[in-house]
């Protein structure tokens, strides 16, 4: 069990390391506006109200078509499509996004689900080249800001969530 923890933690530390500069830059921009709608962090850095607002706009442009205007996911999202792929799950805390660490959420959004589950086929595209790293972080911060508090607390307790924090 602990080995699996270490394995994932190590993986997420590496993914997080790729983002460290971006995240720190975002954090420095957000430092003047630390009073967001919720206590939201991403990869250990606080998400500002501005970045969450930017994330809301970007979510509507890039994510809502599949994940739903209100992040409710596609209908009957637990049942496989005729293509064999799974529908887009909710992002409002009723799905399973909160069971993924920040590093995994970032990697799946930027590089596609296959970055985390090798060989897995998904309708979700990789957003590398479409969205900047900071934009992906803004979207994910917006999503996290609208999870119920207990979902954020659950995600914060995941083994990979302590990876990538400054000073660690």
């Amino acid at each position: 069990m602990s080995k699996a923890h270490h394995g994932n933690g190590s993986a997420e530390r590496k993914a997080a390391a790729l983002l460290a500069a971006t995240t720190l830059a975002l954090a420095s921009v957000s430092s003047a506006a630390a009073s967001g709608p919720a206590e939201v962090t991403f990869l250990g850095s606080p998400s500002s109200a501005e970045s969450i607002a930017v994330g809301e706009t970007l979510y509507a442009e890039h994510c809502a078509a599949c994940h739903g205007e209100n992040r409710e996911g596609q209908p009957d999202w637990r049942r496989r499509l005729d293509t064999g792929r799974m529908p887009a799950p909710p992002q409002d805390g009723t799905g399973h996004s909160f069971t993924h660490s920040d590093a995994h959420l970032f990697a799946m959004t930027k590089l596609g689900i296959e970055a985390v589950v090798p060989g897995y086929e998904s309708d979700m595209p990789a957003f590398e080249g479409i969205l900047e790293d900071a934009e992906i972080i803004a979207i994910l911060s917006f999503v996290k800001a609208n999870w119920p508090e207990e979902r954020r607390a659950y995600q914060a307790s995941l083994p990979g969530m302590d990876a990538g924090r400054p000073g660690e």
């Binding site: 080995k3 699996a4 394995g7 069971t99 995941l158």
Partner: protein, 308 residues
């Protein structure tokens, strides 16, 4: 006049009877091979249970069995948890679930919310004794969080080689998924996959540092999966050593010591059900068309069990 002869005769007869009874008591009990038709197994309440047209119970790790209760409906799958002594969850032929708190003596129907279809696989969650998983062919995976009383749909079937596959066997494996929970392994009609118990996606068993390898471009450990395309009829994980798995395929019983990344064949028994003693990973039982078997060396060798 008192007939002492008769008395002497009776006393001799009594003496002979006593000696005979002593010899009988010292003689081994009559034993027979276990009959075929027992298709569900579990360890519960410190003993083992086999279910077919009747329940059999064993108090010696499956070496010998005794007749137990004869249920009204025929069980097709059993599940138990070491923290719920004596409790059996029973999937019934034709559909539905029943719960017994006395190893099958009495059954109480549950299964609210389940479709009217027969369950093909049943398992308890390793860390949550009242949480159960059931697979239904042509449908998917269902979960109960109240020991079988009510159920909800949680996940579709695995998608292997371009098709959805029915799950024939389930094992909750007490190893961290990295997503705040553990893994649920599913043996399907065409191989093995697993899903985190948050039910985000079925996936092949990957090396635990697969993402490290992707990031670094390093070589990941080489998986050695079960034979492609074979149905996984039974699948168990050791409660005492969760990385150890056993799978029953038509080609025999296979063993993994690394949570299903690599497998090796252990025995040619064509088992249809397996169960492991939660306190001792070396003690296993198997059901096959030839009867019941038991192993005391973690599945390497098997001995035909007997019924008393």
């Amino acid at each position: 006049m008192t007939d002492f002869t008769g008395f002497r005769f009776n006393r001799r007869a009594l003496l002979r009877g006593a000696i005979g009874a002593s010899i009988m008591a010292m003689a081994p009990q009559l034993r027979a091979a276990t009959p075929a038709g027992y298709r569900a197994l579990a360890f519960s309440g410190g003993g083992a249970v086999a279910a077919g047209d009747s329940f059999l119970t064993s108090e010696d790790g499956g070496a010998t069995w005794r007749q137990g209760a004869r249920p009204g409906a025929s069980p097709v799958a059993l599940a138990a948890h070491p923290e719920r002594s004596g409790r059996l969850i029973v999937a019934l032929e034709g559909g539905g679930v029943a719960v017994s708190d006395n190893r099958g003596e009495t059954l109480i129907l549950g299964g609210r919310g389940l479709p009217a279809a027969e369950i093909s696989a049943l398992a308890t969650a390793a860390r949550l004794p009242d949480t159960l998983y059931a697979a239904i062919p042509g449908d998917g995976l269902w979960r109960s969080e109240d020991a079988g009383e009510s159920w909800e749909f949680v996940m579709d079937r695995p998608f292997i080689a371009g098709e959805e596959r029915d799950v024939l066997s389930l094992a909750s494996v007490d190893l961290a998924s990295g997503m705040g929970g553990i893994w649920l392994y599913g043996g399907s009609t065409a191989g093995l996959q697993r899903v985190p118990d948050c039910f985000c996606r079925w996936q092949d068993v990957q090396p635990e540092h697969a993402l490290d390898a992707l990031v670094e471009g390093a070589e990941a450990p080489e998986p050695r999966p079960l034979p492609a395309g074979e149905p996984v009829r039974a699948l168990i994980s050791s409660a005492a050593a969760p990385s150890r798995l056993w799978a029953a395929l038509p080609s025999g019983i296979w063993i993994s010591a690394d949570a299903g990344l690599t497998w090796e064949t252990a025995n040619a028994i064509a088992a249809t059900a397996l169960a492991g003693d939660p306190t001792n990973p070396d003690t296993l039982i198997a059901a096959s068309p030839d009867g019941l078997f038991h192993s005391r060396d973690a599945g390497r060798s098997w001995t035909a069990s007997t019924i008393l």
